[in-house]
Each structure stands twice: as structure tokens, then as C-alpha cells.
Amino acid sequence: MPDIGIISSTIVAGVLLGGILALTALGLSIVLGVMRLVNLAHGDFLVVGAYAGLFFLQFTGIDPLIGLPVVAVFVGMLALPVYSFLLAPLAGRGAEAQMMTMFAVSIILENAFVLAFSADTRSIARDYATVPLTLGPITFPLIYLIGFAISVTLILAVHWLVSATAFGRDLRASAVDAQAAATLGVDVKRVQMLTFALGAACAGVGGTLMGAAFQFGPSSGGAYLLNSLAVVVLGGLGNVIGTLIGGIALGALQSIGGLTLGDGYRDLVGMALFLLVLAFRPDGFLAKGRT
């Protein structure tokens, strides 16, 4: 039986990591909510963010945490043409057409990463990314705390955007019923485009944080996507605050699973949880009202 220090450290680390996971899943969630699209290229958007953070550091020498707004804008801008040239023409064609298109984007991106950056495994090497923080008996990685703070701030900002602004009102209306929103004068296309870009921008920031905390390569997108899906399902599709809670819950439960069953069972615990929630609470933990 591991001692109390290990248990509490593990849980704290899990909760903090969960906050970062929530940010990586946020884009997937709002795109699902507003566009009814399982964005199969979401993981690759995260990888774009990680490479963007890495090269920003290499070329400017400026810390990627300071460069996060640049990364966010860059990845968000990249998403705009994807929406207008690839997704918008498929509106009203059912879920599969857009989903398969994003899958195609995903394999093109992955191929492009290999050609442009080689298949090497990379990591954004920063001193603060590999330093422990000790508070009494509890030890956890400093980068988790930094990432958690940035993620929660960003998620709350998106929540404010969705719940308290005119854009948010249009977004919510489009999510509930796009046709009805359109008849009420909401420019659904524009809302969807901005949502898609916002989702990608969040993924860009999340990708840089993941790249600093862990490692990544051209094919990391698949694993990112699956983790994000688990978070989204736990929190409810399209629910911003739900995504935050889902991420934290997943992080905490995975670390408890890792502690009791072994680290190999972390993802398994996540997926099992994911299916259970799907089966019993298909709208997520917070079943009421989507944003």
C-alpha cells in the first residue's frame, strides 16, 4: 500500500493534468456542440499547436508560454480556410461527409508533418517543465500547475464568451437548432466558422502545453483525439464548464486507476469510464442544459 504522500501527490497531479486535458478537449467539444461534427483532425490541430510552440521558441527565443497568444491566433487562422473551403460546402450533407473530410485532413496533416519536420519525437525543452514543486508531503510537476492555471483561465474566458456575449447567444442558438437560428437572423455559417477557429485556437494552446509537459511527434494526434473524446463525453457534448469538470474528473480517476492497477491501466480506466457514462448519463455528468 503506497503511503499517503504518494496517494495525495498522485491525485493532485491528476487533477492538475485533468485541467490541461480539459483545454485540449475544449475545441472538440464546442465544435461537436455547434456543428454536430466529430472532428477527427482535432488531435492533429493539437500537434500543430505543439510544433508551433516549439518553432516559436526556436526562431524567436521567446518562451512559448509568452508566445501562447501567437500560437492561438496562428492555429485559429489555419482553421478558417479548412472551414470555408472544406466543411461549409458540405453543410446539410449529414454527419459522415464532414467527419470523413476531417479524417482526410488529419491524414494529410500527419503526412505533411513527417515530410516537413521528420518523424522525430520532439519536446519543448524548458526548465520549468521538468521541475518538481513540493508542498509538505505533496510533490507534483510545476508544469502541471502552470498548465492548469492557463487552461482554467482560458476555459473560463470561453465560457464567458459563450454565456455572456452576443456571439455566444448566436452560438447557443445555432447549437440548439441551426435552422431555427437561421430563420431568426443568425448568420449560422459565420458562427460555425468562428466556433471552428476558436476550437482550433484552444487546441493550439493545449498542444503547446502538452508539448512542454510531455513529448510529441507527427502521429501523436490519434492518442490526443481519443483522450479528448473521453473528456468531452464525461463533460457532455458542447458543454464548456462540463468539459472542465470532465477533464478534471478524468485526470483524477485515471491517476487513481494508475495508482491501484498500474500506469498501463490509466487509459483503460478512462475508456471504461467513458463507456459507462455514455451508457448511463449520455449527456455527461452535468446532464442539465448545454451552454
Binding site: 513527417v114 519525437t121 519536446s123 525543452a125 513529448q215 492518442a223 491517476s255 494508475g258
Partner: protein, 395 residues
């Protein structure tokens, strides 16, 4: 309804037929390889592709190979298997049945190598491969047409223990083992290391197995730390190796010896980690400093041609291709049986050292212990191959 049935079928059939055009010229010697050029193992595939191509290019520049007295060029056809064994198998099938290759070169990692090798074996086409640890290779079946030159797991596993003993490093002899559950991980971490620990007087305070694509190691690290292990032996591929090192640092865990098999070898490992890579040990079957013909040139050529950092995988792939090309030369024929018989007689020193296959179709590559020091891999053991002194304890 029926009309468009016919139309669609005809179109599809025409598309398929169009593919049969474009096969190799009749007077080339065609060899094939299916490699992971995309997907998680794309890193390995790019090293191998370079090694295979270099060997073939050199033979062609020298005029090719004499078949029945007439010199012919060698054509190497490479296909991408996307790190999917199903694709390795189907690529190998196509290379044999459509492109009429006379022999094959292998993919990388047991799962992919075996998928292709089984096809080759059934089609009775010789295949020379590296990148498949010998015990894993032998466990599949009795091979008649497939030949493997790589490291032997028990030897690789013994290196850290022997090196620690010879170098006289002082630790509390508490050992933590973390290994993935791939074929070689299970053999090395699950069986051989625990046995050797006993033999060398270490106490195994932890033995953890994880899936090869696991990304979180906080629990294993916390456990090893709390049990006071000063020696950590890891068997993992590169992404996991990098994750483990970073997470150890951010958990504040500092063992005195850290040895990461497999994953810590390529230069990208040290590049991704920066100074965190200092002091990490890894068993290597090749290094440009090896006293074998062409070793120093090989790494230099790779780095200047590709602008990428090198890995030992350029050496076993280059050597495997040379073994095959030498066998075709010796056979003086494109007959599969004759080439296969010639491979069996291989007995020559290559860039990886002397290669001679035993009755299991395996050839062991000699192993040294490397240590990362300021971004450079230094051979610290055995004494005879040493290029630098050991850095101890782990900084």
C-alpha cells in the same frame, strides 16, 4: 439499374487493370521492402530506407551485379506500411506477386517484421532483416527463408549489470525495472533483468509493465522513489523514453543510474531532452566509433545527406541490404533458392561487425554501453571499445 451496375463495375475493373502496367524492366534485379514511413514508427522507417537505398546505390554505381555473367542494375522498391502489420503483409504480397522481387528486406519491430516475414516465408522468397530482436524472431517459427541480424536480448539485458560491475559504481543495489509489454520488453524486463539482478546481487524493489504507447508514468515513478531505488532500468521506445525522463525530473526523482534500452538510442532522444539526457545509459549495437569497415563514414554520410541526426538503425539496415546484395552476387543468379543458400553462407565483416548466421537464421550483433554526455553518445563499456569515461552518478 442493371446498366449502371455494368458501368460502375467496368470503371472499377479498368482502374484496377491500369495498375498492372508499370512493372519493372525485365533486366533489373528487383528487391523490395515494406517500411513504416508513416505512423508511430515512421522514425525507424526513415533510417532504414536510407540504409537500404545507400547499399543498393553503391552496388549500382559500381556497375551492378553479374547475373549469369551479364551485369544488371538492382532496383529497390519501397512501400509504406503505415506502421500497420496488415499493410506490411499486403505490401509484401504485392511486391512478390506483382513486382516479382527476387528477395525482400525487412521492416522494423517484431510485429511488422513478422507480418512481412511470414508472407516471404510462405512464398519461398528470401528476406534479410534487422530491427527484430533475435529471441522474438526465433519464437515465431522455424524459418527457412528469413534471416535476422540484430542484437540478442539476453546480451543486451546483461550490459548494464556488467558495465556497473566493471566500472565499480557504488549504489544501494536497490533496482527498479520499468518495461513495456512488447515482445522484447517482456523478455528483457519481465524475465532476464530480474534473473540477472539476483545474480549480480541487486534487490528488485519494483517491476512495472506498461503498454508500449503509455504516456503517463507518475505512479511508477512515485513508487520507485518511495522505495529508494538508486538504479533504474527501463525498456521503452523513444517517445516513452522521453516522457519517462521528463516525468522523473518533474517528480524530483534522481536515481544514481538510469539505463533506458531501445528508446534512448537515437540522437532525437538527446535533442528532445537537452541536458536532461546527460548521464543516461543505453545499450547500443552500433556506433560510428566502431572499428568496422565504413562505420565512421556511414553516420557522416547520413547526417550530411539528410540533415537529420543519426541512429544505429542506419547501420543494421545498411548491413542487411549488403548481406542480401552480396548473396545475390555470390549466387550469380536471381533464383530464390540459390540466393537463400548464399545468404546461409554469409561470413564477412560488415559495418555492424562480423555477420554469420546460425542454425536459427540469426546473427548476433555485438553490444556496447553508451552514455549521453552533452548531447553526444560516448561508449563507456567495454574497455576495449571505450571512447570516454562514465559520468556517475546521474547528474
Amino acid at each position: 439499374m442493371k446498366h449502371h451496375i455494368g458501368k460502375s463495375l467496368a470503371a472499377a475493373a479498368a482502374a484496377t487493370l491500369a495498375l498492372s502496367i508499370g512493372v519493372a524492366f525485365a533486366d533489373d534485379i528487383v528487391i523490395g521492402a515494406s517500411l513504416p514511413l508513416s505512423g508511430p514508427l515512421a522514425g525507424f522507417g526513415s533510417f532504414q530506407q536510407w540504409g537500404y537505398k545507400r547499399a543498393v546505390d553503391q552496388v549500382n554505381r559500381a556497375g551492378g551485379i553479374a547475373i549469369n555473367g551479364a551485369k544488371q542494375q538492382v532496383k529497390l522498391i519501397i512501400r509504406d506500411d503505415k506502421t500497420d502489420p496488415n499493410a506490411t503483409a499486403s505490401n509484401t504480397e504485392t511486391l512478390i506477386s506483382r513486382d516479382r522481387v527476387v528477395a525482400m528486406l525487412g521492416s522494423c519491430t517484431p510485429a511488422l517484421v513478422h507480418a512481412g516475414a511470414l508472407v516471404s516465408e510462405r512464398a519461398k522468397k528470401p528476406m534479410v532483416t534487422g530491427c527484430d530482436p533475435l529471441e522474438a524472431f526465433k519464437s515465431v517459427r522455424k524459418w527457412n527463408y528469413v534471416w535476422d541480424l540484430f542484437f540478442h536480448e539476453p546480451e543486451l539485458a546483461a550490459v548494464p549489470f556488467k558495465a556497473m560491475a566493471d566500472l565499480g559504481v557504488k549504489t544501494n543495489k536497490k533496482l527498479a525495472i520499468w518495461h513495456d509489454n512488447g515482445p522484447d520488453g517482456q523478455v528483457i524486463g519481465g524475465k532476464i533483468w530480474p534473473a540477472l539482478a539476483k545474480e549480480f546481487g541487486y534487490e528488485v524493489v519494483q517491476n512495472s509493465e506498461f503498454p508500449i504507447d503509455n504516456s503517463q508514468f507518475t505512479s511508477v515513478i512515485a513508487e520507485a522513489k518511495s522505495r529508494g531505488a538508486e538504479v533504474v532500468l527501463v525498456d521503452a521506445i523513444t517517445p516513452q523514453a522521453i516522457a519517462i525522463r521528463k516525468q522523473m525530473a518533474s517528480a524530483g526523482y534522481m536515481p544514481k543510474v538510469l539505463n533506458i534500452e531501445k528508446g534512448a538510442e537515437p540522437v532525437q532522444f538527446a535533442e528532445a531532452l537537452g541536458k536532461l539526457s546527460d548521464g543516461i545509459l543505453v545499450g547500443g549495437y552500433w556506433d560510428p566509433a566502431f572499428p568496422y569497415p565504413g562505420a565512421a563514414d556511414l553516420a557522416k554520410a547520413f547526417e550530411s545527406e539528410t540533415k537529420l541526426t543519426s541512429s544505429q538503425h542506419i547501420a543494421d539496415s545498411y548491413a542487411a541490404a549488403q548481406v542480401l546484395l552480396d548473396a545475390i552476387t555470390a549466387a550469380g543468379s536471381t533464383d530464390s533458392e540459390k540466393i537463400n543458400a548464399a545468404i546461409a553462407k554469409t561470413d564477412k565483416s560488415y559495418v555492424v561487425g562480423p555477420v554469420k548466421f546460425d542454425e536459427n537464421h540469426t546473427a548476433k550483433l555485438p553490444i556496447v554501453s553508451l552514455q549521453w554526455q552533452s548531447g553526444k553518445a560516448v561508449i563507456i563499456w567495454p574497455k576495449s571499445a571505450k571512447t570516454g569515461d562514465v559520468l556517475f552518478p546521474l547528474p
